[in-house]
């Protein structure tokens, strides 16, 4: 467990509401990850970064990676294949990014299937958000 980071997250949670909701979203994913794997030892920003940058080759050909649309820099705006701007993924740039659980779930459902060809696990989702919270 990265205690200093968690402390930081709690402080950030006190500082703003959306981040607090992102934190509660993470709690939910942590519970689910623990239920799936008794050996779950917390989320990792490093694994999240790797997931974000990966090119698994198991998804749809037009969307080989998260970075296809979101760009390799989480702090930069992305662009959909249809040409619309996507707000940056990094929590520091888009503070209310992970505030609405239904929206987060909608996009994980769509995009994990598009890029990975399968649903993401709770651990992967948590890793991803943890990584974005560090950016």
């Amino acid at each position: 467990m990265k205690t200093p980071f968690l402390t930081g997250l709690v402080l950030a949670a006190l500082a703003f509401q959306p981040a607090a909701r992102a934190a509660s979203l993470l709690d939910g994913y942590a519970d689910a990850a623990r239920a799936a794997d008794a050996g779950f030892a917390g989320f990792s920003a490093g694994r999240g970064r790797a997931l974000f940058a990966a090119t698994p080759g198991t998804g749809k050909p037009d969307t080989p990676s998260c970075t296809t649309c979101h760009t390799a820099d989480p702090r930069a705006a992305g662009r959909t294949r249809a040409g619309k701007a996507i707000a940056p993924m990094a929590l520091s740039v888009s503070p209310d990014r992970y505030a609405d659980p239904a929206k987060v779930e909608k996009w994980f459902r769509r995009n994990c299937n598009s890029v990975l060809g399968r649903a993401c696990t709770a651990r992967e989702k948590g890793d991803f958000i943890r990584f974005m919270a560090t950016q």
Binding site: R81, A82, G83
Partner: protein, 373 residues
């Protein structure tokens, strides 16, 4: 420009000021409608229509003036008898042209033809504008199909009018250059040398000027008021918020009238593989959006876009695969669509300011700077 009390000997004011003004304003309006109609793109339609609006008012004035105007403005004085026309043509064949105080017989028939042609052009233009664009006084009563069909008539009439204008101008040139009759000057200052010496009675008075100008202003003003009176827009629904929320994150939420109900159903049933991406929705949201799209699909609308694009199904479901879409966007390059302020061929609203209403009016096209219209 008004009557000259000290007109040169042998010259007489034959064309009253209102008639001369009518002539030159009509010339300008016809020039504008020919240029906008033949040479400029559809986004100049507003100017074409404005010229037609002015012409409509002018024609109303001219018809009244043909009854109550000064002597040579009145239709009753037009030398339209076939015998006169035959005589004039006979003279022309022998290289001779008599100066007439008012119109000469062939010229009088030309005025009749021009006025009739312009009247028909204004009338058919109103039908096209009302049906095809759903704008103007007839917007609510003429359907798209009728407007679209009458456009063909409007175009044939325009070609005939252009021919008539050409003959009219040629006749004026021949009169002026070959026979030295100052007919153009006469249409400017109103005075014409009087043939023979018998006729010197004044036919134009101050009353004509005052009444005529008032009548013209009234006719054009009333006509344009009627022409541009705000009318409830004939339009399909505005794009709904619920729909935009679910579909508008990745691409502009296409107006429901741009595809058929069948296409929408197929598309909404296949969201898990939506043009290469998973765009799935929660089942209740998917059903809500599908119901909205089907309820307002192309079949329910009467706009140009719903007829020419919406009702044309494509194998891919794509709007950009319709022939009409391709024809209307052929001036645009891939780079134009890739610009950051456009995004892609799916960003209808980047140039069509009324895209969310589904109307796609020609005069609502406003491309970003550097993109051809």
């Amino acid at each position: 420009m008004t009557d000259q009390p000290n007109a040169p000997a042998g010259a007489q004011t034959v064309w009253d000021l209102p008639l001369r003004l009518f002539h030159w304003i009509a010339v300008s309006a016809v020039a504008v409608s020919l240029v906008t109609g033949y040479l400029l793109g559809d986004h100049w339609l507003f100017l074409h229509v404005a010229a037609g609006g002015v012409l409509g008012g002018l024609l109303a004035f001219r018809l009244a003036w043909g009854v109550i105007g000064s002597r040579y403005s009145r239709f009753a004085t037009f030398p339209l008898r076939p015998s006169g026309v035959r005589r004039q043509i006979g003279h022309l064949m022998r290289g001779r042209s008599d100066l007439h105080t008012g119109h000469n017989p062939v010229g009088a028939w030309m005025i009749v033809a021009l006025l009739a042609g312009l009247g028909l052009l204004v009338a058919t233009g109103l039908v096209v504008w009302g049906g095809q664009e759903h704008q103007g006084p007839l917007s609510a009563v003429i359907g798209y199909k009728l407007g679209h069909g009458v456009k063909e008539v409007h175009e044939v009439l325009a070609a005939l009018l252009l021919t008539a204008v050409g003959i009219h101008v040629a006749g004026v040139v021949v009169e002026t250059v070959v026979f030295r009759h100052p007919v153009v000057k006469a249409m400017v200052h109103g005075r014409k040398p009087v043939p023979g010496s018998g006729e010197t009675a004044r036919t134009v008075g101050l009353t004509h000027t005052v009444v005529g100008l008032g009548l013209m202003a009234l006719a054009v003003g009333a006509w344009l008021y009627w022409f541009y009176l705000p009318r409830p827009a004939v339009a399909p629904v505005r794009t709904s918020q619920a729909y935009t929320r679910d579909c508008g994150d990745c691409h502009w939420a296409f107006h429901p009238s741009l595809r058929t109900a069948g296409t929408w159903r197929t598309m909404m049933a296949g969201l898990a593989d939506h043009y290469g991406e998973d765009a799935s929705l929660a089942p209740d949201r998917r059903d809500q959006v599908t119901a909205y799209l089907v309820a307002h699909a192309a079949e329910t609308a009467d706009t140009e876009a719903s007829h020419e694009i919406g009702r044309r199904e494509t194998a891919s479901g794509r709007i950009t695969d319709t022939r009409y879409w391709q024809r209307r966007h052929r001036q645009l390059s891939d780079q134009d669509f890739a610009r950051p302020d456009v995004g892609s061929k799916m960003a209808c609203n980047a140039c069509h300011r009324d895209a969310d209403t589904g109307r796609f009016d020609d005069d609502m096209i406003q491309p970003p700077k550097g993109v051809p219209a």
